[in-house]
Protein backbone atom coordinates (compact mmCIF):
# COMPACT_ATOMS: atom_id res chain seq x y z
CA UNK A 1 0.00 0.00 0.00
CA UNK A 2 1.38 3.34 -0.99
CA UNK A 3 0.58 6.20 1.29
CA UNK A 4 1.58 9.71 0.56
CA UNK A 5 2.66 11.15 3.85
CA UNK A 6 2.14 14.76 4.60
CA UNK A 7 3.72 16.44 7.51
CA UNK A 8 1.18 17.52 10.06
CA UNK A 9 1.87 21.13 9.18
CA UNK A 10 0.18 20.49 5.83
CA UNK A 11 -2.97 19.06 7.38
CA UNK A 12 -5.93 21.12 6.35
CA UNK A 13 -6.84 22.36 9.80
CA UNK A 14 -9.15 24.91 8.31
CA UNK A 15 -11.24 22.06 7.00
CA UNK A 16 -11.29 19.88 10.08
CA UNK A 17 -11.96 22.48 12.73
CA UNK A 18 -14.55 25.14 13.22
CA UNK A 19 -11.72 27.18 14.75
CA UNK A 20 -12.13 30.19 12.50
CA UNK A 21 -15.88 30.20 12.93
CA UNK A 22 -15.42 29.97 16.65
CA UNK A 23 -12.89 32.78 16.69
CA UNK A 24 -14.92 35.06 14.50
CA UNK A 25 -18.02 34.43 16.59
CA UNK A 26 -16.01 35.41 19.60
CA UNK A 27 -14.67 38.53 17.93
CA UNK A 28 -18.23 39.44 17.04
CA UNK A 29 -19.29 38.99 20.63
CA UNK A 30 -16.42 41.15 21.80
CA UNK A 31 -17.42 43.93 19.46
CA UNK A 32 -21.00 43.50 20.46
CA UNK A 33 -20.07 43.54 24.10
CA UNK A 34 -18.67 47.02 23.66
CA UNK A 35 -21.97 48.28 22.33
CA UNK A 36 -25.36 46.71 22.19
CA UNK A 37 -24.81 44.05 24.82
CA UNK A 38 -24.16 46.79 27.30
CA UNK A 39 -27.88 47.41 27.19
CA UNK A 40 -28.71 43.74 27.54
CA UNK A 41 -26.24 43.15 30.31
CA UNK A 42 -28.50 44.48 32.98
CA UNK A 43 -31.44 42.34 32.03
CA UNK A 44 -29.97 39.09 30.79
CA UNK A 45 -26.48 38.59 32.08
CA UNK A 46 -26.83 40.74 35.14
CA UNK A 47 -28.82 38.44 37.37
CA UNK A 48 -27.07 35.35 38.63
CA UNK A 49 -30.29 33.39 38.09
CA UNK A 50 -30.22 34.12 34.36
CA UNK A 51 -26.63 32.98 34.03
CA UNK A 52 -27.32 29.77 35.92
CA UNK A 53 -30.40 29.13 33.81
CA UNK A 54 -28.30 29.39 30.68
CA UNK A 55 -25.75 27.03 32.26
CA UNK A 56 -28.57 24.58 32.96
CA UNK A 57 -29.31 24.65 29.26
CA UNK A 58 -25.67 23.89 28.55
CA UNK A 59 -24.56 27.35 27.39
CA UNK A 60 -21.97 29.40 29.22
CA UNK A 61 -21.21 33.07 28.88
CA UNK A 62 -17.57 33.82 29.50
CA UNK A 63 -15.27 36.79 29.22
CA UNK A 64 -12.93 36.19 26.28
CA UNK A 65 -9.21 36.21 26.99
CA UNK A 66 -7.26 39.39 26.35
CA UNK A 67 -5.21 39.28 23.18
CA UNK A 68 -1.52 38.81 23.92
CA UNK A 69 -2.16 37.34 27.37
CA UNK A 70 -1.09 33.77 28.12
CA UNK A 71 -4.81 32.96 28.30
CA UNK A 72 -5.30 33.85 24.65
CA UNK A 73 -2.97 31.29 23.18
CA UNK A 74 -1.29 31.58 19.82
CA UNK A 75 -3.80 30.98 17.01
CA UNK A 76 -0.98 30.65 14.49
CA UNK A 77 1.12 28.10 16.31
CA UNK A 78 -1.60 26.52 18.39
CA UNK A 79 -4.90 26.44 16.51
CA UNK A 80 -7.79 25.07 18.54
CA UNK A 81 -8.62 21.41 18.39
CA UNK A 82 -12.17 20.68 17.38
CA UNK A 83 -14.94 20.08 19.90
CA UNK A 84 -15.21 16.59 18.43
CA UNK A 85 -11.52 15.82 19.06
CA UNK A 86 -11.54 17.25 22.57
CA UNK A 87 -14.62 15.29 23.58
CA UNK A 88 -13.89 11.95 21.89
CA UNK A 89 -10.28 11.34 22.93
CA UNK A 90 -9.97 11.31 26.71
CA UNK A 91 -8.16 9.71 29.59
CA UNK A 92 -10.76 9.11 32.27
CA UNK A 93 -10.00 5.64 33.60
CA UNK A 94 -13.15 5.48 35.73
CA UNK A 95 -14.93 4.96 32.41
CA UNK A 96 -12.34 2.65 30.83
CA UNK A 97 -8.72 2.91 29.74
CA UNK A 98 -9.35 3.25 26.00
CA UNK A 99 -9.28 6.79 24.64
CA UNK A 100 -12.79 6.41 23.24
CA UNK A 101 -14.22 4.73 26.34
CA UNK A 102 -15.07 7.91 28.30
CA UNK A 103 -17.07 9.38 25.41
CA UNK A 104 -18.94 6.08 25.11
CA UNK A 105 -19.54 5.43 28.79
CA UNK A 106 -19.65 8.75 30.65
CA UNK A 107 -23.12 9.63 29.40
CA UNK A 108 -24.76 7.80 32.28
CA UNK A 109 -23.01 9.95 34.88
CA UNK A 110 -25.41 12.22 36.78
CA UNK A 111 -23.83 15.55 37.65
CA UNK A 112 -26.89 17.17 39.25
CA UNK A 113 -27.04 17.53 42.13
CA UNK A 114 -23.33 17.80 42.84
CA UNK A 115 -21.68 18.37 46.19
CA UNK A 116 -18.07 19.22 46.85
CA UNK A 117 -16.76 18.56 50.31
CA UNK A 118 -14.21 21.13 51.41
CA UNK A 119 -12.17 20.18 54.44
CA UNK A 120 -8.82 20.43 56.14
CA UNK A 121 -7.10 23.70 56.88
CA UNK A 122 -9.82 26.12 55.79
CA UNK A 123 -11.81 28.72 57.69
CA UNK A 124 -15.04 27.65 55.99
CA UNK A 125 -15.18 23.89 55.65
CA UNK A 126 -18.41 22.25 54.52
CA UNK A 127 -20.38 20.87 51.62
CA UNK A 128 -20.69 23.20 48.68
CA UNK A 129 -22.68 23.16 45.47
CA UNK A 130 -20.88 23.94 42.21
CA UNK A 131 -22.46 27.41 42.06
CA UNK A 132 -21.30 28.09 45.61
CA UNK A 133 -17.68 27.59 44.59
CA UNK A 134 -17.74 28.99 41.06
CA UNK A 135 -19.15 32.41 40.33
CA UNK A 136 -20.89 31.91 37.00
CA UNK A 137 -20.96 35.67 36.45
CA UNK A 138 -17.16 35.75 36.48
CA UNK A 139 -16.46 32.97 33.98
CA UNK A 140 -13.42 33.43 31.78
CA UNK A 141 -12.39 31.69 28.63
CA UNK A 142 -8.84 30.38 28.55
CA UNK A 143 -7.24 28.83 25.50
CA UNK A 144 -4.79 26.36 27.01
CA UNK A 145 -2.36 23.86 25.63
CA UNK A 146 -3.04 20.48 27.16
CA UNK A 147 -0.01 18.19 27.22
CA UNK A 148 -0.50 14.56 28.20
CA UNK A 149 2.32 12.58 29.78
CA UNK A 150 1.76 10.12 26.91
CA UNK A 151 3.26 12.72 24.53
CA UNK A 152 0.15 13.96 22.74
CA UNK A 153 -1.20 17.46 23.08
CA UNK A 154 -4.27 19.48 22.19
CA UNK A 155 -5.38 23.10 22.40
CA UNK A 156 -8.60 23.59 24.32
CA UNK A 157 -10.76 26.67 24.96
CA UNK A 158 -11.72 26.02 28.57
CA UNK A 159 -14.19 28.08 30.55
CA UNK A 160 -13.87 28.55 34.27
CA UNK A 161 -12.57 30.72 37.05
CA UNK A 162 -9.10 30.90 38.58
CA UNK A 163 -8.74 28.25 41.26
CA UNK A 164 -7.58 31.05 43.55
CA UNK A 165 -11.08 32.57 43.37
CA UNK A 166 -12.58 29.24 44.45
CA UNK A 167 -10.14 28.91 47.32
CA UNK A 168 -10.84 32.50 48.39
CA UNK A 169 -14.44 31.47 49.09
CA UNK A 170 -13.38 28.77 51.56
CA UNK A 171 -10.50 30.74 53.04
CA UNK A 172 -7.42 28.53 53.44
CA UNK A 173 -5.61 28.86 56.73
CA UNK A 174 -2.03 30.17 56.65
CA UNK A 175 -0.79 26.73 57.70
CA UNK A 176 -2.16 25.12 54.54
CA UNK A 177 0.72 24.17 52.24
CA UNK A 178 -1.03 21.86 49.78
CA UNK A 179 -4.41 21.45 48.19
CA UNK A 180 -5.66 18.08 46.98
CA UNK A 181 -8.55 17.18 44.71
CA UNK A 182 -10.43 13.97 45.13
CA UNK A 183 -12.58 12.88 42.24
CA UNK A 184 -15.83 10.97 42.05
CA UNK A 185 -16.08 7.21 42.63
CA UNK A 186 -19.55 5.94 41.82
CA UNK A 187 -19.61 2.26 40.83
CA UNK A 188 -23.24 2.40 39.69
CA UNK A 189 -22.33 4.86 36.96
CA UNK A 190 -18.67 4.08 36.31
CA UNK A 191 -17.82 0.88 34.49
CA UNK A 192 -14.03 1.15 34.49
CA UNK A 193 -13.30 1.18 38.21
CA UNK A 194 -12.51 -2.52 38.42
CA UNK A 195 -10.10 -2.82 35.54
CA UNK A 196 -8.06 0.38 35.48
CA UNK A 197 -5.29 -0.78 37.80
CA UNK A 198 -5.47 2.40 39.85
CA UNK A 199 -6.51 2.98 43.45
CA UNK A 200 -9.69 4.96 43.92
CA UNK A 201 -10.56 7.65 44.57
CA UNK A 202 -8.31 9.45 42.13
CA UNK A 203 -6.38 12.07 44.04
CA UNK A 204 -4.28 14.86 42.63
CA UNK A 205 -2.83 17.88 44.31
CA UNK A 206 -0.83 21.06 44.10
CA UNK A 207 1.47 23.09 46.24
CA UNK A 208 -0.35 26.15 47.56
CA UNK A 209 1.58 28.60 45.37
CA UNK A 210 0.80 26.47 42.31
CA UNK A 211 -2.86 26.37 43.26
CA UNK A 212 -3.01 30.17 43.71
CA UNK A 213 -1.21 30.85 40.41
CA UNK A 214 -3.39 32.84 37.98
CA UNK A 215 -2.92 30.20 35.27
CA UNK A 216 -4.49 27.44 37.38
CA UNK A 217 -8.09 27.12 36.30
CA UNK A 218 -11.17 25.58 37.86
CA UNK A 219 -13.02 24.67 34.68
CA UNK A 220 -16.74 24.18 34.23
CA UNK A 221 -16.95 24.33 30.46
CA UNK A 222 -15.27 24.32 27.08
CA UNK A 223 -16.13 25.71 23.68
CA UNK A 224 -18.86 27.86 25.17
CA UNK A 225 -20.66 24.86 26.62
CA UNK A 226 -20.92 23.15 29.96
CA UNK A 227 -18.19 20.48 30.32
CA UNK A 228 -19.18 17.19 28.73
CA UNK A 229 -19.06 14.33 31.26
CA UNK A 230 -16.03 12.72 29.60
CA UNK A 231 -14.10 15.96 30.08
CA UNK A 232 -14.75 16.02 33.82
CA UNK A 233 -18.19 17.52 34.42
CA UNK A 234 -19.23 19.38 36.37
CA UNK A 235 -15.98 20.65 37.84
CA UNK A 236 -12.35 19.99 37.03
CA UNK A 237 -9.03 21.71 37.40
CA UNK A 238 -6.65 22.44 34.56
CA UNK A 239 -3.03 23.24 35.18
CA UNK A 240 -1.60 24.01 31.76
CA UNK A 241 2.11 23.73 32.58
CA UNK A 242 1.75 20.23 34.04
CA UNK A 243 1.03 16.89 32.44
CA UNK A 244 -2.66 16.24 32.06
CA UNK A 245 -2.98 13.64 34.80
CA UNK A 246 -2.50 16.41 37.38
CA UNK A 247 -5.78 17.94 36.28
CA UNK A 248 -8.40 15.94 38.18
CA UNK A 249 -11.90 15.59 36.79
CA UNK A 250 -15.35 15.56 38.39
CA UNK A 251 -14.06 16.83 41.71
CA UNK A 252 -16.01 15.91 44.86
CA UNK A 253 -13.59 16.94 47.54
CA UNK A 254 -11.04 19.69 48.05
CA UNK A 255 -8.74 19.33 51.03
CA UNK A 256 -6.14 21.73 52.33
CA UNK A 257 -3.28 20.15 54.19
CA UNK A 258 0.08 20.88 55.67
CA UNK A 259 1.77 17.80 54.22
CA UNK A 260 2.07 16.72 50.60
CA UNK A 261 -0.88 14.53 49.58
CA UNK A 262 -0.28 11.04 48.18
CA UNK A 263 -1.37 11.41 44.58
CA UNK A 264 -2.75 8.55 42.51
CA UNK A 265 -0.19 8.12 39.74
CA UNK A 266 2.76 8.76 42.04
CA UNK A 267 1.43 6.00 44.29
CA UNK A 268 0.75 3.66 41.36
CA UNK A 269 4.21 4.03 39.85
CA UNK A 270 6.54 6.49 41.54
CA UNK A 271 9.34 5.85 39.02
CA UNK A 272 7.23 7.17 36.20
CA UNK A 273 5.04 9.81 37.78
CA UNK A 274 6.01 12.38 40.36
CA UNK A 275 4.06 14.91 42.40
CA UNK A 276 5.14 17.91 40.36
CA UNK A 277 4.75 16.48 36.85
CA UNK A 278 5.80 19.71 35.19
CA UNK A 279 6.05 19.42 31.43
CA UNK A 280 9.78 19.07 30.88
CA UNK A 281 11.52 18.00 27.67
CA UNK A 282 14.71 17.07 29.51
CA UNK A 283 13.21 14.58 31.97
CA UNK A 284 12.19 11.39 30.21
CA UNK A 285 9.37 9.17 31.22
CA UNK A 286 11.20 5.86 31.79
CA UNK A 287 9.33 4.30 28.86
CA UNK A 288 9.59 7.18 26.41
CA UNK A 289 11.42 10.39 25.72
CA UNK A 290 9.54 13.60 26.50
CA UNK A 291 11.70 15.66 24.12
CA UNK A 292 9.00 15.82 21.45
CA UNK A 293 5.26 15.73 21.29
CA UNK A 294 2.49 14.98 18.84
CA UNK A 295 -0.08 17.73 18.39
CA UNK A 296 -3.30 15.93 17.61
CA UNK A 297 -4.61 15.16 15.09
CA UNK A 298 -1.08 15.24 13.64
CA UNK A 299 0.65 12.00 12.77
CA UNK A 300 4.20 12.67 13.97
CA UNK A 301 6.07 13.56 17.11
CA UNK A 302 7.35 16.61 15.32
CA UNK A 303 6.99 19.35 17.94
CA UNK A 304 9.75 19.99 20.42
CA UNK A 305 8.24 19.85 23.90
CA UNK A 306 8.37 23.27 25.56
CA UNK A 307 9.61 23.66 29.09
CA UNK A 308 6.57 24.12 31.36
CA UNK A 309 4.50 23.53 28.21
CA UNK A 310 5.41 27.02 27.04
CA UNK A 311 4.26 28.74 30.24
CA UNK A 312 7.78 29.19 31.62
CA UNK A 313 7.56 32.99 31.68
CA UNK A 314 4.65 32.71 34.08
CA UNK A 315 5.59 29.76 36.27
CA UNK A 316 9.35 29.10 36.17
CA UNK A 317 9.87 31.29 39.24
CA UNK A 318 7.74 28.87 41.30
CA UNK A 319 10.52 26.32 40.97
CA UNK A 320 13.57 28.53 41.33
CA UNK A 321 16.41 26.58 42.89
CA UNK A 322 14.62 23.24 42.66
CA UNK A 323 16.22 20.26 40.97
CA UNK A 324 13.48 19.35 38.52
CA UNK A 325 15.17 16.04 37.70
CA UNK A 326 14.65 15.02 41.28
CA UNK A 327 11.26 16.67 41.72
CA UNK A 328 9.74 15.45 38.46
Amino acid sequence: MLIKIRSSADLPYSEVTPEHIYRSRRDFMKTAAAGAVGVLAGSVIGGNAGVLEAAQAGQLTARPPAKGSPFFGDPERDPLNTFEQITSYNNYYEFGTGKGDPARNAGRLTTKPWTVKVDGLVAKPGNYGVEDLVDFKQLEERVYRHRCVERWSMVIPYIGVPLSAVLAKVQPQPRAKFVSFETLVRPSEMNGLGSAGLQWPYVEGLRMDEAMHPLTLMAVGLYGKVLPNQNGAPLRVHIPWKYGFKSGKSIVRISLTESMPATTWAVQNSNEYGFYANVNPTVDHPRWSQAREKRLPGLFYDRPTQMFNGYGDQVASLYAGMDLRKFY
Binding site: M1, I3, K4, I5, R6, L11, P12, E15, V16, N81, E84, Q85, S88, Y89, Y93, T97, G98, K99, G100, E150, W152, M154, S195, A196, G197, L198, Q268, N269, P286, R287, W288, S289, K294, L296, P297, L299, F300, Y301, D302
Partner: protein, 230 residues
Protein backbone atom coordinates in the same frame (compact mmCIF):
# COMPACT_ATOMS: atom_id res chain seq x y z
CA UNK B 1 -21.68 -33.60 27.57
CA UNK B 2 -19.92 -36.08 25.31
CA UNK B 3 -22.56 -35.50 22.64
CA UNK B 4 -22.01 -31.76 22.81
CA UNK B 5 -18.26 -32.30 22.53
CA UNK B 6 -18.78 -34.49 19.49
CA UNK B 7 -21.05 -31.88 17.94
CA UNK B 8 -18.37 -29.21 18.38
CA UNK B 9 -15.82 -31.53 16.80
CA UNK B 10 -18.14 -32.21 13.90
CA UNK B 11 -18.77 -28.50 13.39
CA UNK B 12 -15.05 -27.74 13.40
CA UNK B 13 -14.42 -30.59 10.97
CA UNK B 14 -17.15 -29.28 8.68
CA UNK B 15 -15.64 -25.79 8.68
CA UNK B 16 -12.10 -27.06 8.16
CA UNK B 17 -13.11 -29.41 5.36
CA UNK B 18 -15.07 -26.72 3.60
CA UNK B 19 -13.77 -26.18 0.10
CA UNK B 20 -13.20 -22.49 0.66
CA UNK B 21 -11.78 -22.77 4.17
CA UNK B 22 -8.29 -21.65 3.22
CA UNK B 23 -9.38 -18.71 1.03
CA UNK B 24 -11.84 -17.71 3.78
CA UNK B 25 -9.06 -17.63 6.38
CA UNK B 26 -6.93 -15.62 3.96
CA UNK B 27 -9.67 -13.04 3.49
CA UNK B 28 -10.31 -12.90 7.22
CA UNK B 29 -6.62 -12.16 7.82
CA UNK B 30 -6.46 -9.53 5.10
CA UNK B 31 -9.64 -7.72 6.07
CA UNK B 32 -8.40 -5.71 9.11
CA UNK B 33 -5.35 -4.56 7.16
CA UNK B 34 -7.45 -3.43 4.22
CA UNK B 35 -9.90 -1.66 6.52
CA UNK B 36 -7.35 0.20 8.60
CA UNK B 37 -5.34 0.99 5.48
CA UNK B 38 -8.42 2.45 3.86
CA UNK B 39 -9.28 4.52 6.92
CA UNK B 40 -5.73 5.76 7.26
CA UNK B 41 -5.66 6.72 3.61
CA UNK B 42 -8.84 8.73 4.19
CA UNK B 43 -7.14 10.57 7.05
CA UNK B 44 -3.98 11.32 5.07
CA UNK B 45 -5.85 12.52 2.00
CA UNK B 46 -8.09 14.67 4.18
CA UNK B 47 -11.25 13.05 2.82
CA UNK B 48 -12.27 11.95 6.30
CA UNK B 49 -9.81 13.33 8.88
CA UNK B 50 -11.73 11.72 11.76
CA UNK B 51 -11.79 8.19 10.31
CA UNK B 52 -9.36 6.93 12.96
CA UNK B 53 -10.17 9.33 15.79
CA UNK B 54 -8.10 12.18 17.18
CA UNK B 55 -4.81 10.26 17.11
CA UNK B 56 -4.77 8.43 13.77
CA UNK B 57 -1.16 7.28 13.72
CA UNK B 58 -1.52 5.73 17.18
CA UNK B 59 -4.79 4.07 16.18
CA UNK B 60 -3.03 2.59 13.14
CA UNK B 61 -0.08 1.39 15.20
CA UNK B 62 -2.29 -0.25 17.82
CA UNK B 63 -4.60 -1.89 15.30
CA UNK B 64 -1.65 -3.45 13.45
CA UNK B 65 -0.03 -4.68 16.66
CA UNK B 66 -3.24 -6.06 18.09
CA UNK B 67 -4.20 -7.93 14.93
CA UNK B 68 -0.61 -9.18 14.58
CA UNK B 69 -0.58 -10.79 18.03
CA UNK B 70 -4.12 -12.08 17.46
CA UNK B 71 -3.14 -13.90 14.27
CA UNK B 72 0.06 -15.13 15.90
CA UNK B 73 -1.95 -16.72 18.70
CA UNK B 74 -4.38 -18.11 16.11
CA UNK B 75 -1.34 -19.75 14.48
CA UNK B 76 -0.49 -21.39 17.79
CA UNK B 77 -4.08 -22.58 18.17
CA UNK B 78 -4.03 -24.64 14.97
CA UNK B 79 -2.12 -27.60 16.35
CA UNK B 80 -4.13 -27.90 19.59
CA UNK B 81 -7.37 -27.94 17.58
CA UNK B 82 -5.92 -30.56 15.25
CA UNK B 83 -4.95 -32.79 18.13
CA UNK B 84 -8.04 -32.36 20.27
CA UNK B 85 -10.60 -32.72 17.50
CA UNK B 86 -8.60 -34.89 15.11
CA UNK B 87 -9.02 -32.48 12.23
CA UNK B 88 -5.75 -32.92 10.39
CA UNK B 89 -6.70 -30.73 7.49
CA UNK B 90 -6.67 -27.61 9.64
CA UNK B 91 -2.88 -27.85 9.42
CA UNK B 92 -2.97 -26.44 5.92
CA UNK B 93 -3.67 -22.89 7.15
CA UNK B 94 -0.95 -22.79 9.79
CA UNK B 95 1.86 -21.44 7.66
CA UNK B 96 -0.44 -18.92 6.05
CA UNK B 97 -1.51 -17.65 9.46
CA UNK B 98 2.10 -17.44 10.57
CA UNK B 99 3.11 -15.41 7.54
CA UNK B 100 0.11 -13.11 8.01
CA UNK B 101 1.03 -12.46 11.63
CA UNK B 102 4.58 -11.65 10.53
CA UNK B 103 3.19 -9.26 7.91
CA UNK B 104 1.10 -7.38 10.45
CA UNK B 105 3.99 -7.14 12.90
CA UNK B 106 6.36 -6.00 10.14
CA UNK B 107 3.95 -3.21 9.14
CA UNK B 108 3.41 -2.41 12.84
CA UNK B 109 7.17 -1.98 13.22
CA UNK B 110 7.32 0.14 10.05
CA UNK B 111 4.54 2.35 11.40
CA UNK B 112 6.51 2.78 14.63
CA UNK B 113 9.61 3.77 12.65
CA UNK B 114 7.75 6.19 10.41
CA UNK B 115 5.46 7.88 12.94
CA UNK B 116 7.19 7.51 16.31
CA UNK B 117 10.74 7.83 15.02
CA UNK B 118 10.09 10.07 12.00
CA UNK B 119 11.81 7.61 9.62
CA UNK B 120 9.91 8.78 6.57
CA UNK B 121 13.12 9.94 4.96
CA UNK B 122 16.79 9.16 5.44
CA UNK B 123 17.42 12.72 6.62
CA UNK B 124 14.90 12.61 9.47
CA UNK B 125 15.72 9.09 10.60
CA UNK B 126 17.95 9.03 13.64
CA UNK B 127 19.30 5.47 13.74
CA UNK B 128 21.22 6.09 16.92
CA UNK B 129 18.08 7.29 18.71
CA UNK B 130 16.20 4.19 17.57
CA UNK B 131 18.96 1.91 18.82
CA UNK B 132 18.97 3.82 22.12
CA UNK B 133 15.21 3.33 22.33
CA UNK B 134 15.57 -0.42 21.80
CA UNK B 135 18.14 -0.66 24.58
CA UNK B 136 16.57 1.81 27.00
CA UNK B 137 12.89 0.93 26.77
CA UNK B 138 12.13 -2.63 27.89
CA UNK B 139 8.83 -2.86 25.98
CA UNK B 140 10.54 -1.90 22.72
CA UNK B 141 13.33 -4.38 23.43
CA UNK B 142 10.77 -7.11 24.02
CA UNK B 143 8.88 -6.24 20.85
CA UNK B 144 12.14 -6.29 18.89
CA UNK B 145 12.95 -9.79 20.11
CA UNK B 146 9.54 -10.97 18.96
CA UNK B 147 10.02 -9.36 15.58
CA UNK B 148 13.50 -10.80 14.99
CA UNK B 149 12.21 -14.30 15.76
CA UNK B 150 9.21 -13.88 13.47
CA UNK B 151 11.49 -12.60 10.72
CA UNK B 152 13.67 -15.71 10.96
CA UNK B 153 10.62 -17.95 10.99
CA UNK B 154 9.01 -16.17 8.03
CA UNK B 155 12.19 -16.52 5.96
CA UNK B 156 12.50 -20.23 6.78
CA UNK B 157 8.81 -20.94 6.33
CA UNK B 158 9.22 -22.12 2.73
CA UNK B 159 9.32 -25.79 1.76
CA UNK B 160 12.90 -25.43 0.60
CA UNK B 161 14.02 -24.33 4.06
CA UNK B 162 11.93 -27.04 5.71
CA UNK B 163 13.84 -29.61 3.66
CA UNK B 164 17.23 -28.02 4.16
CA UNK B 165 16.93 -27.63 7.94
CA UNK B 166 15.52 -31.15 8.44
CA UNK B 167 15.03 -31.82 12.15
CA UNK B 168 16.31 -28.39 13.08
CA UNK B 169 13.35 -26.77 11.32
CA UNK B 170 10.96 -27.90 14.06
CA UNK B 171 13.44 -26.84 16.71
CA UNK B 172 13.81 -23.43 15.16
CA UNK B 173 10.10 -22.98 14.71
CA UNK B 174 9.28 -23.88 18.29
CA UNK B 175 10.70 -20.38 18.92
CA UNK B 176 7.29 -19.13 17.82
CA UNK B 177 6.24 -19.60 21.44
CA UNK B 178 9.03 -17.28 22.55
CA UNK B 179 7.91 -14.74 19.96
CA UNK B 180 4.31 -14.93 21.17
CA UNK B 181 5.41 -14.57 24.77
CA UNK B 182 7.58 -11.58 23.85
CA UNK B 183 4.65 -10.06 21.97
CA UNK B 184 2.25 -10.46 24.88
CA UNK B 185 4.81 -9.06 27.35
CA UNK B 186 5.36 -6.12 24.97
CA UNK B 187 1.58 -5.60 25.03
CA UNK B 188 1.49 -5.72 28.85
CA UNK B 189 4.45 -3.38 29.29
CA UNK B 190 3.00 -0.66 27.13
CA UNK B 191 -0.02 -0.31 29.44
CA UNK B 192 0.06 2.65 31.77
CA UNK B 193 -1.67 0.65 34.48
CA UNK B 194 -3.37 -2.70 34.87
CA UNK B 195 -3.64 -5.60 32.45
CA UNK B 196 -7.31 -5.27 31.50
CA UNK B 197 -6.61 -4.61 27.84
CA UNK B 198 -4.12 -7.38 27.09
CA UNK B 199 -5.90 -9.85 29.41
CA UNK B 200 -7.72 -11.85 26.68
CA UNK B 201 -4.41 -12.41 24.87
CA UNK B 202 -2.64 -13.37 28.12
CA UNK B 203 -5.27 -16.03 28.81
CA UNK B 204 -5.22 -17.25 25.21
CA UNK B 205 -1.43 -17.65 25.26
CA UNK B 206 -1.56 -19.42 28.63
CA UNK B 207 -4.12 -21.89 27.28
CA UNK B 208 -2.23 -22.79 24.09
CA UNK B 209 1.05 -23.09 25.98
CA UNK B 210 -0.68 -25.22 28.61
CA UNK B 211 -2.00 -27.57 25.95
CA UNK B 212 1.39 -27.70 24.29
CA UNK B 213 3.01 -28.54 27.63
CA UNK B 214 0.40 -31.21 28.31
CA UNK B 215 1.07 -33.00 25.03
CA UNK B 216 4.81 -32.65 25.38
CA UNK B 217 4.90 -34.28 28.82
CA UNK B 218 2.36 -36.96 27.87
CA UNK B 219 4.35 -37.89 24.80
CA UNK B 220 7.52 -38.16 26.80
CA UNK B 221 5.87 -40.32 29.45
CA UNK B 222 3.94 -42.56 27.08
CA UNK B 223 6.40 -43.50 24.41
CA UNK B 224 9.92 -43.21 23.10
CA UNK B 225 10.57 -40.04 21.15
CA UNK B 226 8.42 -39.98 18.10
CA UNK B 227 9.23 -38.06 14.97
CA UNK B 228 5.97 -36.15 15.03
CA UNK B 229 6.64 -32.47 15.08
CA UNK B 230 4.45 -29.87 16.58
Amino acid sequence: MRAAWRAIGAAIAAIVNWRFFKPAVFILCALPLVLVGYEFAQVVTGRNPDALGADPSKALLEELGEKGITILLATLTVTPIRRIFNVNRIQRVRRMLGVWSFSYIAIHLSAYLVFDQACYSAATCDYHAIWQDVLKRPYIFMGSIGFVILLALAITSTQGWTRRLKKNWARLHSLVYVAALAGVIHFIWIQKSGVARPLPWIIWLAVVMGIRFYYATRKRLAAPRSTVTA
